[in-house]
């Protein structure tokens, strides 16, 4: 055993920084949420629970949460499916495999908001290449960023472009760490590639699937940068996510106290939803694979 008198020297600097820079501000936000701090009355007065009462009937806030959940659902679904597919293709020895792998991880490395600016020119209705290419196939004038559904789809498309790469690399690392024996057994049983995937690969990948999905859910729930650069939450509020709404209400409209209460509600809901999701997912995936073996 290593002399443990030194252990605090290792842990405490980082812990202190974290408490100072995240926990203390969070407590301050809780305090702010009970104040009426806004552009006219800056200061820490006390207004009781009135901010929270107002939040519960704030249609814009709950709508943004609905938009966020829909976007996150489609983004993570596509990213997981595509990322898993690509990881399976590059799992075994493949010619030019390293070249493809390098290409496929580039999107997650480049600045999302800067790429969103580039994507905005791609989606331009008259001068952009996307509508130009679609017109070769007889589809013309798709209003990518000016109508609700196309705008929603464009945001998802850009997110999928960016973050499928993360799913890909996490799942590929998972695949490469799988044990060999179950595959040898499956081969002896004469299982084809599809049965091997369903009965061996997928169940073995369950813990990694859960990890990757949870990481991606956490990160994608903060979705706002792409929206800031591409649609400014428009048209109307069709692509307004909660993070975007919190930003506008707080640092643009300066409704500090009220937005603090929205933040707290949002954070509590997110943590509960994520914990619940992780639990359900591990029951669905790991529970089933144990039943099989």
């Amino acid at each position: 055993m290593i002399d443990s008198r030194y252990k605090h020297i290792f842990l405490f600097p980082a812990l202190l920084v974290l408490v100072a820079i995240i926990i203390f501000p969070l407590i301050y936000t809780v305090r702010l949420s009970f104040s009426g701090w806004d552009i006219n009355r800056p200061g820490l007065d006390s207004v009781g629970w009135s901010n929270y009462a107002r939040a519960f009937v704030d249609g814009g806030f709950w709508n943004s949460m609905g938009t966020l959940y829909q976007m996150v659902f489609f983004c993570v679904l596509f990213e997981y499916t595509l990322g898993f597919g690509l990881a399976l293709l590059l799992w075994k020895q493949v010619k030019a495999g390293r070249f493809f792998r390098l290409l496929f991880i580039i999107p997650m490395c480049v600045t999302p908001v800067v790429m969103a600016v580039v994507w905005k020119t791609i989606f331009h209705e008259t001068l952009g290449p996307l509508n130009d290419i679609l017109s070769w196939f007889g589809i013309s004038g798709v209003p990518w960023l000016s109508e609700a559904t196309p705008a929603f789809i464009s945001i998802i498309l850009v997110d999928v472009w960016q973050w499928t790469s993360l799913m890909f690399i996490l799942l590929l690392a998972g695949l490469m760490s799988l044990p060999k024996e179950p595959y040898e057994a499956a081969q002896i049983d004469g299982a084809g590639p599809i049965r091997t995937f369903v009965h061996v690969t997928f169940p073995l990948m369950a813990p990694i699937t859960i990890g990757a999905l949870v990481i991606r859910l956490i990160e994608s729930s903060k979705l706002m940068e792409t929206i800031y650069a591409m649609t400014s939450a428009g048209p109307g509020s069709a692509t307004e996510t909660t993070s975007y709404l919190l930003y506008i209400r707080s640092l643009r409209e300066f409704q500090i106290g009220y937005t603090a209460s929205l933040s707290i509600i949002y954070l509590v809901i997110m943590i509960i939803a994520l914990a619940l999701f992780a639990k359900l997912l591990s029951r669905a995936l790991i529970g089933r694979s144990e039943a099989r073996t």
């Binding site: 501000p25 490395c109 600045t111 290419i133 690392a173 933040s263």
Partner: protein
């Protein structure tokens, strides 16, 4: 018959890989092509191939170095600011995070019902916090301490954002380094701190590289705090480019600036791939 099926399969496989590769590089190629255009290459509809469809110029790239007063972007300032903030914050986060990760990997901590894995989870769970929530207290606190719109203010915030990533990667990495190594060092008369610096750290190159590269990616690309906590004295790269977008800056300078800002990250991606291929990420996400 079987040979034909194998050919069909590998055809489909490469087809799929190539389709995705084209999708991945398309925005970069489009930006590259646009960065050499001038008015006639943009306003007449989408064009792709230089010389054939439009006459390439270097105007877009030249604008990066011109002053804003003469219609340029003057990108050197933001570039330098981003470089300083992301390198310093990555360095601090790497130092603090690696120490904490080593502590969590080698010692037993107890705080009431909480043990090591809870503390590790506490670090990592900070990623759940949406920046939009922290923006309010950060803005007020930095304003109060006079650190709003300074490098130091941003560095502080970035260190907090990067710490969870470093702890996440390094705890797992240290767990794969055998404790016999520490013990051997201690028998040779090192105290734990010396053992850490002289023996353990030099053996953790790949883990440190992966953690460091991830820090650089996240800090260089950070947008939200750069937008809300700095605006005049300190201008960071991502907000500078996004604001161009709303200022009706021509597409060619916009594309050139976007490419110039992501080139370092593409180089980082290259190194990241080399180190990830040594397979030291697998354990990280296994629960």
């Amino acid at each position: 018959m079987r040979g034909a099926r194998v050919n069909l399969y590998s055809g489909l496989k490469y087809g799929a890989l190539i389709i995705w590769a084209v999708f991945v590089v398309a925005p970069f190629l489009w930006a590259l092509s646009t960065s050499f255009k001038s008015d006639n290459g943009v306003t007449g509809g989408a064009t792709y191939i230089p010389f054939l469809e439009y006459e390439p110029t270097l105007d877009g790239w030249a604008a990066l170095f011109r002053d804003t007063s003469s219609g340029g972007i003057s990108m050197q300032g933001p570039y330098l600011a981003s470089l300083i903030v992301s390198l310093v914050s990555s360095g601090i986060a790497l130092a603090l995070g690696t120490l904490a990760a080593y502590g969590l990997s080698r010692f037993t901590f107890r705080a009431g019902p909480l043990s090591n894995s809870d503390i590790t989870f506490f670090f990592i769970s900070q990623r759940i916090m949406p920046p939009a929530i922290l923006a309010i207290p950060y803005f007020l606190l930095l304003q109060f301490t006079g650190l709003l719109d300074t490098h130091i203010g941003l560095i502080l915030v970035y260190v907090a954002m990067l710490l969870p990533i470093v702890v996440w990667v390094m705890v797992d990495f240290f767990n794969t380094v055998p404790t016999e190594l520490d013990e051997a060092a201690m028998i040779d008369g090192c105290n734990p701190i010396q053992a850490f610096y002289r023996i353990i750290l030099p053996n953790c190159g790949p883990g440190l590289v992966v953690a460091g590269l991830l820090c650089i990616i996240f800090s260089w690309s950070e947008f939200f705090f750069a937008l809300t906590l700095s605006f005049a004295k300190v201008q960071m790269l991502p907000p500078t480019i996004v604001i161009l977008n709303s200022n009706k800056v021509p597409w060619w300078s916009l594309s050139a600036s976007a490419l110039a800002s992501v080139v370092p990250l593409v180089i980082v991606a290259f190194f990241l791939e080399r180190y990830l291929s040594r397979g030291n990420l697998a354990g990280t996400i296994r629960e």
